[in-house]
């Protein structure tokens, strides 16, 4: 066979399109095997740059499989492989010595000669492909060319694979982070949408809804600047951080301030706009703070939808700015809050104001699912939207004047204060006078203390408090699902007496599923 034919045969072996059906890992292995046998080498290995682009990580190997198993990492610019990646050119070592090879496995295996080429796709170095021999060998230009050919194939394949992987991972992440079903909140109707953009799909938009131990409800809309997997990952962290701060802090401005501190410390170069609003348990009022986010739309049965005029503070991750502000907004029965990200209203060659006008025209105080569909129909329609879109609608249900309070907390002493603060706010909404407020706080407090002290063994459980206002009378139920044991100590006896004194009626029902204490107290007691 002529050397020309041989060369052609060899090239065909590494560019063989029949290999394309193989999974990436198998293809890599098969190519390495062919490269090794074509070049009569003893070892062949692929190292890929890690996401930080500071180290090469052994990804596939033949003859030196340990390299992958041990996850060998070579700093960029150092040693044999590090130099190839940094200088973007082939490197040949005829006599391996400790000075020019960092990889301990190459030394242990007694590899004598090495040839390596960079993996470059679309101008970016992705890693290094190298072969080695156990006897001294002089690699010629033709060897380097053939190895580069294989390297180019591996590079383009790796690039495609990484891009697909990024996209699939971002999509999976986005799916897992968006609440699949929104929490059921008495008195509030919720709906949300997330629509990936056309160009490369996902971004860093998110929405979130969560109930807080105090019976309040937090709603969030946010947008991490950037696209793709990186933005989606940062979004996930911001979402978790915000939830954590929301548990600690009541004031939305303070929650965003803490989130800002978190981003500035842990998320280098990240900027995000976030709006965080907290509904009172009565749903008649909400407090919100916005970090550079577009203004929400509010609508009520008596007023046409309009942008809410709120002071806007700096996005998170920018710099230390003036103190953040919280705005309190009243929401009448049937009133609605509409949150969205810029992808909904921003279009090329159209001013933002036009988009916002379209939005306020589209938002009505209908059922929330209808509102979502209408808005998307009018603002997105059949257009191609490059940016992703997130939106969240919360409507206070019409009709009920005071929404029942529902609080479920772990049956531990520290929950007692949470129950009181939720109940206090609810009693304000119920316009309870001072004496009724004091009585209900004490009676519910005693019932909850009983649950904390007596309902559960060491395994613990929950205490559920519900309060309903009907015909001028509050009915509060305190429920556990444990095995009630009789009260111990004189303090408890006094507690039960106190509870009865504070209420018009007390009923205790104990069953296999737990104990329910029902307390009734009229808001205004008739004289005498």
């Amino acid at each position: 066979m002529s050397s020309g034919e041989d060369r052609l045969r060899r090239i065909e072996l590494v560019t063989d399109t029949a290999l394309a059906h193989l999974a990436v890992e198998d293809l890599l292995d098969e190519l390495l095997e062919r490269v090794r046998s074509l070049l009569h080498a003893d070892t062949a290995a692929v190292l890929l740059l890690d996401p930080s682009s500071t180290h090469l990580v052994a990804t596939a190997a033949r003859g030196i499989e340990e390299e992958v198993r041990q996850g060998v990492r070579i700093p960029l610019g150092q040693g044999f492989a590090g130099r190839i990646a940094a200088e973007r050119r082939p490197v040949v070592i005829e006599q391996v010595d400790h000075a020019n090879v960092l990889n301990p496995i190459l030394r242990e295996k007694a590899v004598r000669s090495l040839l390596g080429v960079p993996l470059i796709a679309e101008g970016t170095v992705l890693g290094v492909l190298h072969v080695g021999t156990l006897t001294t060998r002089t690699f010629v230009d033709e060897d380097a060319e053939l190895l580069q050919l294989a390297a180019d194939r591996i590079a383009s394949m790796t690039r495609t694979h990484l891009t697909e992987l990024d996209r699939a991972t971002a999509a999976a992440l986005q799916r897992s982070l968006m609440p699949g079903t929104l929490p059921a909140v008495p008195g509030l109707e919720l709906a949300a949408r997330y629509i990936p953009g056309d160009a490369g799909g996902l971004g860093g938009d998110w929405y979130d809804v969560f109930t807080l131990p105090s019976g309040r409800v937090g709603v969030v809309i946010g947008d991490v600047v950037g696209r793709g997997l990186q933005a989606a990952v940062v979004m996930g962290r911001l979402r978790s951080a915000l939830r954590a701060f929301a548990l600690e802090e009541d004031d939305p401005a303070e929650v965003l301030e803490r989130l800002d501190g978190n981003v500035q410390h842990f998320e280098d170069g990240v900027m995000a706009t976030v709006l965080y609003a907290v509904f009172e348990p009565s749903m008649e009022r909400l407090a919100l703070s916005t970090a550079g986010h577009l203004p929400p739309v509010v609508a009520s049965p008596s007023d046409h939808a309009a942008l809410l005029e709120v002071p806007v503070d700096l996005p998170v991750g920018v710099s230390v700015g003036p103190p953040r502000r919280t705005t309190v907004v009243d929401l009448p029965p049937g009133g609605l809050l509409f949150l969205y990200t810029d992808g909904l209203v921003e279009r090329r060659r159209r001013s933002l104001d036009v988009g916002l006008d379209l939005l306020t025209d589209a938002v009505t105080v209908d059922e929330v699912e209808t509102v979502c569909s209408t808005v998307l129909g009018r603002l997105v329609g059949s257009e191609h939207v490059t940016d992703d879109v997130a939106m969240l609608v919360a409507r206070r249900l019409p009709g009920e004047r005071v929404v029942p309070l529902d609080v479920v907390l772990p049956a531990v002493p520290r929950s007692l204060a949470e129950v009181r603060s939720a109940l206090r706010r609810w009693l304000v909404a119920a316009e309870a006078p001072a004496d009724a407020t004091a009585d209900l706080l004490v009676a519910c407090g005693e019932a909850c203390s009983n649950v904390v002290e007596h309902a559960y063994g060491p395994g613990g459980g929950t205490v559920a408090v519900r309060a309903v206002l009907e015909g001028g009378e509050v009915t509060a139920t305190v429920r556990d699902n444990g095995q009630w044991r009789s009260a111990r100590g004189e303090g408890r006896g006094r507690g039960t007496t106190l509870m009865r004194q504070c209420c018009d009626d007390v009923d205790v029902t104990t069953g296999v599923a737990g104990t329910t204490v029902t307390l009734r107290r009229r808001l205004v007691r008739e004289a005498g």
């Binding site: 007692l416 009181r420 706080l441 002290e453 507690g495």
Partner: protein, 111 residues
């Protein structure tokens, strides 16, 4: 988390203690310790001001009953200030605390 403040202002043989915040199962033991530490047995009188107290339950009441009983044995005079209409006063009235100690509606200036 339940937070209470115990502010102690000694004045020769008297001491004024301002109880603020909330007292329940969670912090009752800590409040009880702070009260005990604030009252050495050489005193002649203790003023316990509950004006700043937003919540007290039966566990907190037990502390006050125990304190009243103990001070009686020690022959230390106890004055309790609880504003009319406050939750603390309501709870103390309902529990019969007045039978042991009269409740002052307003704080009298420490002498």
């Amino acid at each position: 988390m339940t937070k209470a403040t115990v502010l102690v202002s000694p004045d020769h043989s008297r001491v004024r203690i301002d109880l603020g915040g909330e007292i329940d199962l969670e912090n009752a033991a800590s409040v009880e310790e702070q009260l005990a530490a604030a009252i050495p047995n050489h005193l002649s009188a203790v003023t316990l001001d509950l004006s700043g107290l937003d919540y007290i339950d039966s566990v907190g009441l037990r502390i006050l009953f125990a304190l009243a009983a103990r001070l009686e044995v020690l022959q230390i005079e106890l004055q309790v200030v609880a504003p009319i209409g406050s939750l603390a006063r309501r709870v103390l009235e309902l529990s019969g605390f007045e039978a042991i100690v009269a409740l002052d509606p307003k704080r009298t200036a420490a002498s």
